[in-house]
């Protein structure tokens, strides 16, 4: 899988040696992949961008893993969301994309058939990311704020706006 020196321990953000080895990181990543990938699909609505972004998060974790295992899903999610935003301007295609096999149109069609997909469609990408982090990944406001690098009040305000919009969407549907 391209992992080398697999017995060497990685280093955490503060420079201290972490217990997360490369093998452990790959194992944790695989365990979290389904949940985080689906969360990214809900936010980005694009399987290629979701896979690309999550792979970038994996590589980022190889270089500089999070300090603890317990918030790994949230960490991967936020790193991937940031990577996806940075990648929006790329005009290059990568061979890896040929392997996602589910098209953007298919994912969008699936999401449009879902209640959740319709609720999220009316939100901004940032609102979608926070809503998915809370309701699908199960992060609380404090964790979302820490991962996104914003104040807790900003998270509360963003989520309040998103929920108001989703409520309006529900009302309009009936």
């Amino acid at each position: 899988m391209g992992l080398t020196n697999s017995t060497a321990a990685l280093h955490s953000i503060d420079g201290a040696e972490s217990v997360i080895t490369k093998e452990r990181w790959a194992e944790l990543y695989r365990l979290e992949f389904p949940r985080v990938y689906r969360a990214l699909l809900a936010v980005l609505r694009d399987p290629d961008r979701a896979l690309d972004a999550l792979q970038d998060a994996f590589v980022a974790g190889l270089r500089k893993p999070p300090a603890a295992d317990d918030a790994l899903g949230g960490w991967l999610f936020v790193v991937a969301v940031r990577s996806a935003r940075r990648g929006l301007g790329r005009q290059l295609l990568r061979l890896d994309h040929a392997r996602s096999r589910v098209s953007k149109d298919e994912i969008e069609a699936s999401l449009d058939r879902m209640e959740v997909g319709r609720l999220l469609a009316g939100l901004t990408e940032r609102q979608r990311a926070m809503v998915v982090a809370q309701f699908y990944l199960g992060l609380d406001h404090r964790e979302i704020a820490r991962h996104f690098g914003v104040k807790s009040g900003t998270v509360s305000a963003t989520l309040a706006q998103a929920k108001a919009r989703m409520r309006a969407e529900v009302r309009n549907a009936f």
Partner: protein, 245 residues
């Protein structure tokens, strides 16, 4: 009406149904540098592949017409070493009896049947593809032992079972299992992956085909690549190459 509890349930129920990509693509092959290919290069490459594919199709159609090969056949399975790749020396294994073909990279071959092995009830066919040399493969094989880095294609009687049920019977669920759905040769396939030991991981694809189930599977070693440069991507490419009649 839209309580947070109900929202969470809806999110989990609906988003958990979104399809996952093949497990072989979860981890990037590159870990440090981006491997980007300009669109123009891809277009040129795709054109070359299409032209080559068309030429091969025309030649194969001519072969088929000349030999009258059409429809199901009960002839023994043959390893047909027909070159189908412009570069790399790929071979095609075709099973007319069970209606599939699969592309093997250079130096891959069909492993010999295991002497004295008894097929489980309901198994109609089993073919194992390996990159290992005959000596290596013989040393690797033992009773009940799965040879890592080989690709196995099995045809089983379905007996009304769903792909998910068969995967569970094979071990998905007894061990922590990651499952999802994908498409192989334009047919829906159920993917499952589970550890069979601390160092080995099973990856399996189940395709429902009428009253039969086609199963493709391979075993990888955690944190290692296989012999002779075989990687999980190699195995994934073999699986991806399957064509169904």
């Amino acid at each position: 009406m839209l309580s947070e509890l109900s929202i969470e349930r809806i999110f989990r129920r609906e988003l958990d149904s979104l399809p996952l990509p093949p497990e072989g693509s979860w981890t990037p092959n590159r870990t440090s540098t981006r491997r980007s290919i300009p669109l123009a290069v891809l277009v040129v490459a795709a054109t070359v592949v299409l032209v080559a594919g068309a030429a091969i199709t025309i030649r194969e159609a001519g072969d088929a017409a000349a030999t009258g090969r059409r429809g199901p056949s009960t002839a023994p399975l043959l390893n047909v070493p027909r070159p189908t790749c412009l570069r790399g020396g790929c071979n095609v294994y075709r099973s007319d009896a069970f209606g599939y073909g699969i592309v093997l990279p250079e130096n891959w071959r069909v492993a010999p049947p295991v002497p004295g092995a008894t097929a489980p009830t309901g198994r109609l066919d089993r073919v194992e593809f390996t990159r290992q040399t005959p000596d290596e493969w013989t040393r690797a094989f033992g009773v009940g032992l799965v040879v890592p880095w080989d690709v196995v294609v099995e045809v089983r009687e379905r007996r009304g079972a769903l792909a998910r049920d068969v995967a569970q019977a094979d071990g998905c669920g007894a061990s922590p299992c990651v499952a999802g759905e994908t498409t192989l040769s334009q047919s829906p396939a159920y993917i499952a992956s589970w550890p069979i030991s601390p160092l080995l991981r099973m990856n399996a694809y189940y395709i429902e085909r009428g009253d039969r189930m086609l199963v493709l599977r391979y075993v990888t070693e955690v944190g290692r690549d296989g012999p002779h440069g075989v990687t999980e991507r190699t195995l994934q490419q073999i699986v991806d190459s399957i064509s169904l009649d």
